[in-house]
């Protein structure tokens, strides 16, 4: 009975009570990660002329969200049912919008809020776009809210709205500064995203037309009643719609053209979070909404392989650091889809672990790329070099996430890759395992090129090499610190790989048994 009336009896509770171990009050924390950044964004807009106030508000809100999310994760994981449900407006499920945090969502919330805080600190340290544009803080907060809203929503249409919050914020952040490259790539990014959104609306219209509901729990019950072709069609349509945001082959074109043009900090958060929201949506909808025979295992495996290969080849072809890393995101999205496409416990757990690892590590790499650009004044590998001598700290900060993303043991990427390969071999999906391993070799080549290009060798570009003398250009302390925090998080993923993987596996168990989700969301009304 999570109806509106129930909440009446809890009147007067303070948010602090949420820390108490009682079932209802933990649900209060569910919308926290969306609503707090939104209120903060509103205040931040009003305080547009005062950058200090904006910083305090932004950091304060995101830190509060981080704390709340950690509490949420711990409590949700403690619960037997492993799920916290809050009905927006207090209206029971089919009437209102259900906000649901299961283990997967909780994991995503914690990781994303940690990244959001770190990158914001980095952006403040950078003293660049953050300082120049009053719009930065409110828009960044909306991005945070949109990402969280995508994770917690239990309503397909609301997922569209959450996506739009996130995307519109990303459009603005991407083009902050309005440089020619940004405008050009911004136009294609916005256009492609708008097309994706229109197709999402189309998919929603078709789904509502066929089932009469957009509540995911209800859809989970109703979609299996549809004719099999329609089920498959919906499944494909949603994969494609989310695949555009996730950067799947052959829908990823917008990504490598647009990400590198954004300000560094923005690229870092995009790289870490945005595509993963797409992957999250694919995982969520495939597992929750569709019965076994409508899931697209084989197709996804093929797509995963092609995504891995084209992504890494793209990375090899580039010279610009940001573009290399951007192509590289695509390649790694393929790994996550590989895990999902197996539709086994081990595969999904591996995919979840991979997502967490990739968010942290990729953010770290882009932050380091930002530091490189600040230090060297360029991010073209052909123009920079020798930074292992001029900036050993940056070299160290780069080395850890780079080794991790290649999958060198014992770093987190290894555990993630191991989990996936292990899962793939146990169901004897040889081709995809072979592709995954081969791509991982090419990844090593890519990272080796970056290392050899940026850190080793000498710098032939006179203008750049002047800057590369030790102490010539100082990288602000806050940038280094925030990057170090993210790198430390990636190392923590190694040390706590055991508990973290256990958690991912529990989340995967939840996902494979959607009945629990459905019951928790709709239970009150039945």
């Amino acid at each position: 009975m999570i109806g509106a009336v129930d909440f009446a009896t809890w009147g007067g509770h303070l948010a602090a009570d949420a820390l108490a171990p009682d079932r209802g009050s933990i649900d209060v924390l569910v919308p926290f990660s969306v609503i707090v950044p939104l209120v903060a964004a509103a205040v931040s807009v009003i305080a547009a002329r005062n950058r200090i106030a904006q910083r305090v508000i932004g950091l304060g809100a995101l830190l509060a969200v981080l704390v709340a999310n950690v509490v949420l994760l711990v409590r949700v994981d403690d619960m037997a049912e492993g799920i916290a449900v809050s009905q927006a407006g207090g209206w029971a499920a089919p009437l209102g919008i259900s906000l649901v945090v299961d283990r997967l969502a909780a994991i995503m919330l914690v990781v994303s809020s940690l990244m959001l805080v770190s990158v914001l600190v980095f952006a403040i340290g950078q003293q660049a776009e953050e300082r120049r544009f009053a719009a930065f803080h409110p828009v960044y907060l909306v991005l945070a809210a949109g990402v969280s809203a995508s994770f917690i929503t239990g309503d397909l249409f609301n997922l569209f709205v959450a996506f739009e919050m996130m995307l519109v914020a990303s459009y603005v952040l991407l083009t902050l500064g309005g440089r020619p490259g940004q405008v050009r790539s911004g136009m294609s990014y916005v256009v492609i995203s708008l097309i994706a959104s229109t197709f999402f609306i189309t998919a929603l219209a078709l789904v509502y037309s066929a089932t009469g509901t957009v509540n995911m729990a209800e859809l989970s019950e109703r979609i299996p009643q549809l004719p099999s072709g329609v089920q498959t069609g919906f499944s494909l349509l949603l994969i494609i719609v989310f695949g555009i945001k996730a950067g799947l082959f052959p829908l990823f074109f917008w990504l490598p053209d647009s990400y590198p043009t954004a300000p560094n900090a923005v690229t870092a958060i995009f790289a870490g979070l945005l595509t993963k929201v797409g992957v999250y949506a694919i995982i969520r909808t495939q597992l929750l909404l569709f019965p076994d025979d409508a899931r697209q295992g084989t197709l996804l495996l093929v797509v995963a392989a092609l995504t891995m290969i084209t992504g890494v080849l793209g990375a090899i072809a580039q010279d610009d650091l940001q573009r290399i890393l951007s192509f590289h995101i695509i390649s790694h999205i393929g790994y996550m889809i590989f895990g999902l496409a197996l539709f086994t416990l081990a595969g999904i757990a591996g995919a979840i672990f991979y997502i967490v690892h990739h968010i942290v590590v990729k953010t770290a790499l882009f932050l380091v790329a930002g530091m490189i650009e600040r230090k060297a004044g360029s991010d073209r590998l052909s123009r920079i070099g020798g930074m292992v001598r001029s900036a050993p700290m940056i070299a160290v900060l780069f080395a850890f996430p780079a080794l991790s993303i290649v999958g060198i043991p014992p770093f987190s990427g290894f555990v993630a890759k191991f989990a996936l390969v292990d899962a793939g071999i146990s169901v004897e999906q040889w081709p995809i395992v072979a592709v995954a391993l081969a791509v991982s070799l090419l990844t090593m080549y890519v990272m080796g090129r970056i290392w050899a290009g940026a850190f080793w060798g000498t710098c032939e570009d006179a203008a750049v090499s002047d800057r590369l003398r030790p102490g010539q250009t100082r990288v602000p302390l806050l940038m280094t610190l925030s990057t170090a925090v993210v790198v430390a998080a990636s190392i923590a993923l190694v040390v706590f790989a055991g508990p973290m993987y256990d958690l991912a596996e529990r989340a995967a168990v939840d996902l494979l048994v959607p009945q629990n989700y459905v019951q928790q969301v709709l239970g009150a009304t039945k």
């Binding site: 249409f157 569209f160 709205v161 739009e164 995307l167 519109v168 459009y171 603005v172 083009t175 309005g178 020619p180 490259g181 405008v183 050009r184 790539s185 911004g186 136009m187 294609s188 916005v190 256009v191 708008l194 097309i195 959104s197 229109t198 197709f199 609306i201 189309t202 929603l204 219209a205 078709l206 509502y208 037309s209 957009v214 053209d257 590198p260 072809a317 580039q318 610009d320 573009r323």
Partner: protein
């Protein structure tokens, strides 16, 4: 959903797509507007056939048109409007910089494409060199 309205949606999507496949941002925006209308037609008709405005006590609730798709369509219209407004701003900015609203091909991608031409040249050059070397061997 009648065949006619399905056709309308199809026509809007078709014309919109035609406009999307061009270089001018202004045409692309018109195209997005058209397919946006098309998706709203689908959304509106997803609740079933036509009915009376869903205002309680104005008529028998069973005669109402489905209110939920209307709310959803309204949300989607407003969101699309907001995003399109931002796209206008990009077009405006583009005009300020280049005095045009062409969406140019990506510079870096063109660069890679040119590199491929170079690769081919180099490969041909090498093949020719090897040919000469073999000839010398024979001769």
């Amino acid at each position: 959903m009648s065949v006619l309205l399905a056709f309308l949606a199809a026509a809007l999507f078709g014309t919109g797509t035609f406009l999307l496949l061009q270089r001018r941002l202004s045409r692309i925006i018109i195209g997005i507007g058209l397919i946006g209308h098309g998706s709203n037609v689908l959304l509106l008709t997803s609740g079933g056939g036509r009915g009376l405005p869903p205002i309680i006590d104005s008529a028998d609730p069973t005669d109402f048109s489905d209110p939920l798709p209307q709310a959803l369509a309204l949300t989607s219209i407003v969101i699309t409007f907001g995003v399109t407004a931002f796209l206008f701003a990009l077009g405006y900015r583009s005009w300020k910089i280049t005095h045009d609203d062409i969406v140019e091909d990506d510079v870096e991608d063109r660069y890679i494409a040119r590199r491929v031409v170079v690769d081919q040249m180099v490969a041909e050059g090498e093949a020719a060199a090897r040919e000469i070397e073999l000839d010398e061997d024979r001769g």
